[in-house]
Each structure stands twice: as C-alpha cells, then as structure tokens.
C-alpha cells in the first residue's frame, strides 16, 4: 500500500477533527471561543459534509480491508493508521454526535468531588454545578456500572480540576482500551484483516475515538474473558467477564456462553472457539436490537457485536452484514443533523436509514449468495 494513501488518510482524519469543532455547543463555555453556530445555521451543509466524511472514511475502510485481505497492508503501515486514528480522534471535539462523555464527567464529579453516591443522587441535584448547562441526562441516576465509575476516578483525578483535561483524560483512557482491544484481537487471531476490520471501521473510529463511548471498555473485558478461558485460566476469565458486566451490563447475556465454554474446558472436552464467538456475536446483535425497547438503537451499540465479528474473518455474511450495519447506523445521525428535531419525520427516517440497507442486503444474500450463509451453520 502506497505512502500516499496513508498521508491521505491522515489528512482526512485531521480535517474531520477540525470539522468536529463546528459542533461546539453554545452552552459549552469551556470552549466558547470555538463556538460558531455553524451546525445550527447551516444544517444542510453540515449534514452534507458529515455524509461526505463518512463516505470517505468508508472508501478508505474498504481499501484497507482489501489490502489486508490481499496482504498489501503490512503491520507497520497498520500501526501508522492506528496511531493517526488515535491522535486525531483524541483531539476531535467529543460532543459532535453524542453528549455521553459530559455525563461521564458529571457522574465522576458527583462521586469524587461531591462525595455522593451517583446511584442515589443525580447531577441535577447539585445545582451549583455550572457544567449542568450543557450536560444532558443530568436528571438521571448513574446509568453505568460501578467498575466504570471506579475507572473514571483515574481521568478525574488526573484532570486536576480542569474540565478540558477531564475530557482529554477520559478520551485517553478510552484510546488505551481501544488499542488494547485491537491488540487482544491480534493475539486471538494473528490476522491483519481482523484488526483492520475492527480498528479502522468508521463507526468504531467515530464512536470510540471521537465521541468517547465506554462500550469499548466493556467489550475489551468481555473479549479478555474469552481469551483467558480459552487459555484455560477459567477463574481469571470469569472475573474479567463480571468486570465487563459491571461496566455497562449489556454483556450479561453472554453468561451462558462463558459458563458453557468454561465447563467444557474444565471437563477437557473439545471447544471450537469460533462457535462461541459466533454465538456471542449473535447474542450481542440481539442485544442491540432489543435496546430499541429500552430507548433506541444507538450507533455505538454496534461495537458490542463488531468486536466478536472481527474474530470471525472468514464468515463473509457476518463481515458484510456488519459493515453495512455500521454504515446505516452512522446514517441515523443525519435526520437530526438536518432537521434539528427528534420529532416530525426524524424517527421514521432514522428507522428507514438504519434498517432498510440491512434488509436489502439480507434479501440479496438469500437470493444470490446463499453460500455465504453456510459458514454460519458449520
């Protein structure tokens, strides 16, 4: 793969990081000098630029996957791409697509500054907290598990009271887990395609490195659990699984898979680990769909099953399915970006954009590529 492509990718991510600052909230007084109001005043242009950036990232993604498959992508080049992604993702404005990172800081402040239990006291009850003006869901109790709240003590303490440092530190923590997850996938597969599939997926880049969602921590721990169980370190594996559940709870349905794998290894029975990864991917995909009943299918939930699918690089159906779903989930941001409302046509458009491409892909496979489905049932 040519050096020009790497430079082009670096330029793309740099420009995307700059673009993210057009979304600075008027109420986010810590970066008030960056506020332009562009994303409100020029909604059509903002949406178009977002679509262009997303398309560009996917073009690069397909090219990287092609190169990885044909062995044109080397590990040193991949590392350059990874470092580029981490650096520019870290520096991008995190509240471009989601405000969750502000919520992480608010919950950490309730715990470590105000010394209150975040499962009992909401951020909004501490009314002299100026950060509430831009923090969403401040009228909710802590949504995440205790291990995540414990982890946020690290970036909070290292922020030394500065909100901007707190933001950077949380993003840095998530970058560490992102790199650790990529490394873990490499350890489990020794397959460049696998780590490219996960690490350079635009949805993963946007939701982990830019927006800073903690799902990567949960999935790192879940994957680690399987890794150590397959290495016959059952106790450590189960502990890691429990820690994973105590980040965000979504991996709890993996318990039967974890315990079945542990049991079979303890009984010295044959374990075909691809079947366990496939089962886990299907379970996590179902969890993504079920989240529609709780609130909504948020794009960052795709990290839950993408991490397992990355361990199954030979399953074409899953790979293509995941790529298409990643793209369609990112498209779900565009209706609100364009219309500025959660009402009106936004819900139905989001549903259409999120699931029609997937539906069409499934029909295509059933009609023309049924052979891809054989991998799932072997």
């Amino acid at each position: 793969m040519s050096r020009g492509v790497v430079i082009a990718y670096q330029v793309l991510f740099f420009l995307f990081a700059l673009f993210s600052y057009l979304f600075v909230d008027n109420n986010f007084f810590h970066l008030h000098s960056f506020y332009t109001g562009f994303y409100i005043q020029k909604r059509e242009l903002t949406t178009l630029l977002f679509l262009l950036f997303t398309t560009a990232f996917f073009i690069f993604y397909f090219y990287f996957l092609f190169c990885a498959k044909k062995h044109f992508l080397s590990l040193p080049i991949f590392k350059k791409l990874l470092i580029t992604s981490c650096v520019f993702g870290l520096l991008a404005y995190p509240a471009m697509l989601s405000y969750d990172i502000f919520n992480y800081i608010a919950t950490a402040k309730v715990t470590y500054f105000y010394h209150e239990n975040p499962y009992v006291i909401m951020p909004v009850e501490l009314i002299n907290n100026k950060d509430l003006i831009f923090t969403r869901a401040a009228n909710k109790l802590a949504l995440y598990g205790p291990i995540w709240i414990l982890l946020t003590s690290i970036p909070y303490i290292l922020s030394f009271g500065s909100y901007i440092f707190a933001l950077l530190d949380i993003k840095l923590l998530l970058v560490v887990f992102y790199v650790a997850t990529v490394f873990l996938i490499w350890m489990m597969t020794k397959n460049l395609f696998s780590i490219t599939f996960f690490a350079l997926n635009p949805l993963v880049l946007f939701e982990v490195l830019v927006s800073g969602h903690n799902d990567i921590v949960m999935m790192f721990l879940a994957l680690s659990a399987f890794y150590f169980i397959f290495k016959k370190r059952i106790f450590l594996g189960i502990v890691l699984f429990i820690l994973s559940v105590l980040i965000k709870y979504a991996t709890l349905p993996l318990a039967p898979v974890i315990f079945l794998a542990s049991y079979r290894i303890l009984m010295k029975k044959k374990v075909v680990w691809e079947k366990y990864m496939l089962a886990s991917a299907v379970i996590m995909f179902c969890m993504v769909l079920l989240s529609a009943f709780r609130e909504e299918v948020y794009p960052w939930y795709a990290i839950w099953f993408l991490s397992f699918v990355s361990l199954l690089p030979k399953m074409k159906f899953l790979i293509y399915f995941s790529i298409i779903f990643s793209g369609s989930l990112l498209l779900r941001y565009t209706p609100f970006m364009l219309w500025g409302t959660y009402g009106g046509l936004t819900p139905i458009t989001k549903l259409f954009l999120g699931f029609v491409p997937l539906f069409l892909f499934v029909i295509y496979v059933l009609v023309f590529k049924r052979v891809w489905l054989k991998d799932l049932f072997q």
Partner: protein, 167 residues
C-alpha cells in the same frame, strides 16, 4: 384601579394542603419479610453515603415509619405503632444534621430545605389527624408479658413539636 376593584372582593380562606406524597405502607411487623426489610435498611445506610444521600435516606425512613405508625394505629396495634412512630421521629431528627453537613460542603440546599419543609407539613397533617382519633392513654395488655401504659397523646405532641421546629 384594578387593585381597588379586587379589594372589594372578599378573600376566601385557602386551605393549605401539602403536595408532598407519603409512600404506600410497606411490609408490616409480624410479616415474614419484616426482618429482611430491617436488614435491608441497615445496608441502605451504607449505600446512602454523602450528605445528600443521608438526607434522602433519613427522609425516606421518616416517611416510611410514619406511614407504618399510622397504619398500625388504625389497626389498634398501639404498641407496635408507638415503636414505629419513635423510629420515624429518630430519622426525622437526623435530617437537620445532614443539611448542615451539606452547607459545610458548600452544596446548595434550597431545594432540600423546601422538600424538608413540605415533608414536615405532611407529617403534621397526618399526626394532627391521628391525635384527634387516638385515646390519650392506653393500657397495653399482652397475652404474655407485662402490661404497659402507652402515653399516646404525649408521643403525638412530641412528634408534632419535632416537625413544627422545621417550619
């Protein structure tokens, strides 16, 4: 001129009713799960750390035991009712300390103070209603054990006094 017009309309007395809502009665003494609830309360005291957490905890239990006392009084279980009312008084009396701790931690307590006042008003409403129906003194005669004279009206008055200090 508008004021003059309105001045000729007699003001109707408004009955101030507390908008504060007490919880439903919980598990009552004698129930199999009552002791488990007591244990849960002890564990909850550890869970509710922090001045605001302790405020919520104490207020919740003050309310809970007041409702328990009211229900037991209605069923003429006066001995258990007086014990429940004592517990309510205890938790209610712990609340001012949590607010002063919050002040020293530079937390703004306006909303908590307002909530505390509304809770006190509601408690006064319930206790006043109880005071009208209960006997002043009751001799509790258990089947086994010693008799006990329950000074019901005195306890109600003391409970009312505790709440009125808040207003």
């Amino acid at each position: 001129m508008i004021f003059t017009i309105f001045a000729f309309f007699p003001a109707h007395p408004a009955i101030a009713e507390s908008t504060y809502v007490l919880p439903y009665p919980s598990v009552m003494p004698g129930n199999f799960f009552y002791k488990i609830h007591i244990l849960e309360e002890k564990l909850q005291s550890l869970w509710h750390f922090g001045s605001f957490g302790k405020f919520s905890y104490n207020l919740k239990l003050a309310d809970k035991y007041l409702v328990e006392a009211k229900t037991l009084f209605e069923y003429k279980q006066y001995l258990l009712a007086t014990k429940a009312l004592s517990k309510s008084n205890y938790y209610f009396s712990q609340i001012p300390k949590t607010l002063s701790d919050a002040i020293s931690e530079k937390k703004i307590i306006i909303e908590k103070q307002d909530l505390f006042k509304r809770a006190a008003e509601k408690h006064i409403e319930v206790l006043t209603s109880l005071g009208k129906t209960l006997p002043s003194v009751f001799l509790w005669q258990p089947e086994d054990g010693t008799n006990e004279t329950l000074l019901l009206q005195k306890q109600i008055d003391q409970s009312l006094e505790l709440r009125k200090k808040v207003l």
